[in-house]
């Protein structure tokens, strides 16, 4: 679990560094947001069930998280942010269209921040394991 959370942390931190210049790094910021969210979702699954989805279709991971929420009586609203990001992974990575700074990039940042906030609040075990930034 720590490996996946740490990977998510790294993607998030890198996203924030690059976000200083969105004009230049918008694509990277959006894609890092997607990967940060996917890794954090994996960390949640591993912390709570000991397994994570290995399906290449990341929407399957969202479904697994939804089932986890149902089994724990957790409001799954935060998963909408993950779904939004996962649904755009291919477009952000390989799409032919130039990303819009507001509709795509800033929304990706917002969605990953909201998803992470929701995940930490509802799955405190991922926030409390081996805490360090140094």
């Amino acid at each position: 679990m720590l490996h996946h959370r740490s990977r998510s942390d790294g993607f998030l931190q890198a996203m924030r560094v690059l976000a200083v210049n969105l004009e230049a790094h918008g694509n990277a910021v959006a894609l890092l947001a997607v990967h940060a969210a996917i890794s954090l979702g994996d960390a949640v699954m591993l912390a709570c069930t000991g397994r994570r989805s290995k399906d290449q279709d990341h929407l399957a991971a969202v479904d697994a998280l939804r089932r986890l929420c149902a089994s724990r009586g957790i409001d799954p609203a935060g998963l909408n942010h993950l779904s939004w990001l996962v649904a755009r992974k291919t477009v952000f990575a390989y799409g032919d269209k130039r990303l819009d700074l507001n509709d795509d990039v800033r929304r990706a940042q917002l969605n990953v921040e909201r998803f992470a906030t929701w995940a930490y609040k509802h799955f405190k075990e991922i926030a409390r394991a081996e805490r360090s930034h140094d």
Binding site: L12, R16, R114, A116, W118, Y120, A127, D134
Partner: protein, 159 residues
Amino acid sequence: MTETQRLYERAKEPVSQCMIRRLLLPSVYWDAPWPTPDRQVDLLVVDRAGVGDVHIVEIKRRAADAIKAIPQVMAIPAQYKWIAFYADTLDRKTESAIAKRKMLFPDKGPGCVGVIAIERTTGSAMEARILVPAERFPGSYDEELQLFSATHKPDISFE
């Protein structure tokens, strides 16, 4: 409000931004009654959406006053403890004491008090930067945090 008080109040924002850059989606409380209602810390910053590690920051106008406050800061329950002051008040003696770091460590056990300097940048803007990174002190504050967050709203959060 005196100029010193004004500078003290204005320091909260740049120091908060400095912590936000360092941590992951933290919840930031200003003038927080922590750990009990009868005591107050200038900044209480809780990592990972308010459920992770507890950081406290003691802000002083002058560097020498921040150094003097270290024993009190050490006594505040938190995993990470910081002092912050205006960089333009840093004299040679205080700078040397910080460089030696001895007073930043507790007498026993792990941990190191972190040091943040607040600098005035262009115009009247301010920026805080870390001179010495804090190191983890022992302890777990999950129950205290649960009680605290049930009754207090953060001044800055990512929800």
